[in-house]
Amino acid sequence: MIENIYSDDQIIKGIAENSSEAINWVYNHIQPMIIKWIIAKGGQYEIAEDVFQEGMLVLFHQCQKEDFILTSKLSTYLLAICKRLWYKNLQQNKNIHLEEDISMYEFHDIDIGIKEKEEEEIAFNQINKALEQLGSPCKDLIKAFYLEEKNMIEIAELFNYSNANTAKTQRYKCMNRLRNIMKLNSRS
């Protein structure tokens, strides 16, 4: 089998840039080992897959940090992430005590990363709630720009603004309104 050989650092860079090839590489080289590990611990295949995907999201989050340095092989690191997520999953669902292995404590930054991701998720849910309160067209405009990645020219057409600049000003106004709603929400 002929395949490009990548170093772990190249894969990390690829993940950070959302490259399909890098994801594919991890999928082919590391995913089977992780799935196997989770199944060995009594997880079902579908759950193992979910844990792996969640692990990839944590890895993606970690790679985005400018000061992120891989201190072990990528496979070891990703397995450590998935182990934590798996134990977390078990503890939440069943409330059982688990023997955790020592490797759980090797990468302190993983715990921080998982926590940051959870916090981001909470913050995003708050934004989502505020967006619903904001109503159309602001809600749709913000979603179109930030979440659907439409550019301002497309948005101007979509929302019947005369040009991209007007749409942009409108976007900032909407963001400001969103900010005010969130402020009110946090007070109550």
Partner: protein
């Protein structure tokens, strides 16, 4: 510009101008002075930035999830093929690697085919060929526990040479084929990480690209030429490589016109070679590149195999246009004596470290 311009109700338009980079350095300074003095405005400013950051992060993450699910779905439906590059959503650099990889695959299969034909043609000699195969071993040095420990522990080492200021290092494919990670070290002991940019397994050539933006070897033209025509029997040659931690010079002559397994694109040289010298360049008396060491006969110190430079030129020429490696050569060393030639050449020789 005076400070009264900055009022809280104007903040939004200032935020917009700032984000759209329509603001001068002077205005920027005054704006931040204003914000630092006015906590209420500063809080509002920070909240806006935070909101945008969270939304943009989420958007990036959504794109990643989409990609992840596509890859998952694709690997589930697709039976494993030997090679697949399904999604070409790459940065330009990565795309370049990809294309080189694909092109080398083509050359690989072609040359593999011709090799098969040769084997067929020399069917009667197969046994001998097998024997030679066994007796030839790759000059890859294995690191024992006793070896000097460096910060970066390598499993194998080899040699190679640079042909481009941005760092395109040519070495043997067998040195790097099992690599998880590749580092190259120059004669001053500086390490750089590298990846395989192109290779030709049948000819045992790999081109490594130094993957470090700080790397730049300052030269306008190579001091040597990549000699298309092979050296003749008995012509004197010399080689520079890294069998040890520092660069080592050896000299010898062309002793046979066929390489191992009767390869007509290779030589047999009479020159000392040791583990670690795989990929070392071979130069003629004018200082031009005439080959690259690939291996030697077992239990001898002098019977060394090297491929012709033509193999390297063929690989370089087979690269697609957008990934072409443009090197400039010269015959500067022609009238220099040997130690002057080596002095000029040594900065082009690299130690290849693989783990």
């Amino acid at each position: 510009m005076e400070n009264y311009f900055f009022k809280e109700k104007n903040l939004l338009s200032w935020y917009e101008d700032y984000k759209e980079k329509r603001i001068s350095a002077q205005q920027r300074k005054e704006l931040f002075d204003f914000l630092n003095q006015n906590t209420k405005a500063k809080d509002a400013w920070n909240e806006m930035e935070q909101l945008e950051n969270i939304l943009m992060k989420k958007s990036k993450e959504n794109a990643f999830i989409k990609n992840l699910q596509e890859v998952t779905a694709a690997s589930k439906t697709k039976k494993k093929k030997s090679i697949s590059f399904p999604y070409l959503k790459w940065s330009s650099v990565a795309a370049a690697i990809l294309l080189i990889g694909l092109s080398s695959l083509i050359t690989w299969t072609i040359s593999n085919k011709t090799q098969k034909e040769t084997t067929h043609q020399y069917l009667q000699l197969r046994k001998d060929v097998e024997n030679i195969k066994k007796s030839q071993y790759n000059i890859v040095k294995s690191f024992n526990n006793k070896e000097r420990k460096t910060a970066w522990e390598s499993k194998f080492t080899g040699s190679g040479f640079n042909i481009h200021p941005e760092g395109y290092i040519i070495t043997n494919y067998h040195v790097v084929e099992e690599a998880n990670e590749i580092m190259v070290e120059n004669f001053q002991g500086e390490y750089y990480s590298a990846y395989i940019a192109a290779f030709e397994a049948a000819a045992d050539i790999a081109i490594l690209k130094i993957n470090d933006s700080s790397f730049y070897q300052d030269f306008k033209t190579l001091p040597f030429k990549l000699e298309k025509t092979a050296s003749k029997l008995a012509e004197p040659i010399f080689s520079l490589g890294y069998p040890l931690e520092n660069i080592i010079y050896h000299e010898g002559y062309v002793s046979g016109e066929l390489g191992y397994a009767n390869n007509t694109n290779a030589y047999l040289l009479e020159i000392t070679s040791d583990p670690g010298q795989s990929g070392a360049p071979v130069f003629n008396k004018e200082g031009n590149l005439v080959g690259m060491i690939t291996g030697k006969m077992e239990n001898t110190s002098g019977k060394t195999y090297a491929i012709h430079t033509e193999n390297i030129l063929n690989l370089l020429n087979s690269l697609p246009e957008e990934n072409a490696i443009i090197y400039k050569e010269s015959a500067k060393l022609k009238n220099l004596d040997r130690s002057q030639q080596v002095q000029e050449l040594r900065s082009f020789i690299y130690s290849i470290k693989v783990k």
